[in-house]
Symmetry: none
Amino acid sequence: MENKIKIVHYEDNNHLREGMVFLMNATPNLDLVGSFRDCMQLENQIKTLKPDVVLMDIDMPGRNGIEAVKILKEIAPQTQVLMLTVFEDEDKIFATIRNGASGYLLKNTSPTEIIEAIFDIYNGGSPMTASIARKVLSFFQQQNKLTKTDYKLSERENDILKGLVKGYSYKLIADELFISIDTVRTHIRHVYDKLQVNSKSEAILKALREGLV
Amino acid sequence: MENKIKIVHYEDNNHLREGMVFLMNATPNLDLVGSFRDCMQLENQIKTLKPDVVLMDIDMPGRNGIEAVKILKEIAPQTQVLMLTVFEDEDKIFATIRNGASGYLLKNTSPTEIIEAIFDIYNGGSPMTASIARKVLSFFQQQNKLTKTDYKLSERENDILKGLVKGYSYKLIADELFISIDTVRTHIRHVYDKLQVNSKSEAILKALREGLV
DNA sequence: GCAAAAATCGCACATTGATGTGATTTTTCG
DNA sequence: CGAAAAATCACATCAATGTGCGATTTTTGC
């Protein structure tokens, strides 16, 4: 092979870190150029070591992996980030993905698979633990299911709801629709009844989340 | 093992279909209960055969795999669908995912991996070819690049904004954060200043649209 | 240590929003 | 046609929100 894949590794647990060092060194074509217990010096390290792939833990002292991914992708967008963590909650998963991570493995992943994943991510893939992948796909599927709930808003009530979602005040909505503010109030009452909410904010949120407008 | 995984397979190419039949039959714990060249009788077949996993091609005569997934998930939501196709364009990928597919493999995937993927999807995972996975993740990452205006909210201001996006009133936010309602007001002022808005609704909308929370 | 930023709280006042209780006029549809 | 649904408007009243003008206390960064 032409070149070894240059790797930097962040992990605060000494055991795990040493294990990974051993694993990397034992694998041909992988070149572990740095292994650190926190991300405090991330900027310098990345600029100096110029890794192709970064393995990143989420829970680290000082600066967590989620922020770290964001910073890293800003200074070195071409570097691929593979998260390697115990967290399986959606917030953290989506946060890291949004921040630019290209892969996400749980820590119980076997060494063989971790090595495979490194090559995979280096070659433009996105290795993910099965359960993580499912969560990601579910995100897309949610939209569809919710569209089902039909609150049977009348046409005018829909106009009013659209106004709310534009961030308009009652007065603005009234002006836009050429009706009195009291009429707007009445419609809004009905909208609230049908959506089962009792404030503007809740109505807006429900409308947005369920794609009612 | 307790039970074999019941599989139904849709594929219009005779060669490929026969190959899969052979592969399935040669694998213990897999039970291929149906293999068809099109989806025209999908409803009957699914209701009769009650498969755990369906392997689905996209390009088939009569009714294509994308529509088929949708119909299938409506009549048998618990059945897992694994797409097995040559198409790699985003439209088709996202369409099938939105319609409820839980896995997506390209046809050049090795027999071993296909078998693995079947067990994987049956156990709640979402097997995806590396390049497909990357496309899916990119979807999330796009949002960020477009709207990365940083309003420099302080940590506390962010807490308050999160409260608003939950649809909470000032009082609720105050209770949640153990601070007085007047403090909430002050923070909200600052948030409004920084976001350049002047109502709760506008703040919520801006926060949601630009992914600030 | 010290200045700046952030977080906390208070009060007053005007505006906006939520809700109760009416009413009249159109529109829709069997 | 005639009832039901939808759309329109009017007050009234209290609660929630927005904003002006303060203040003190922590935290943070150099």
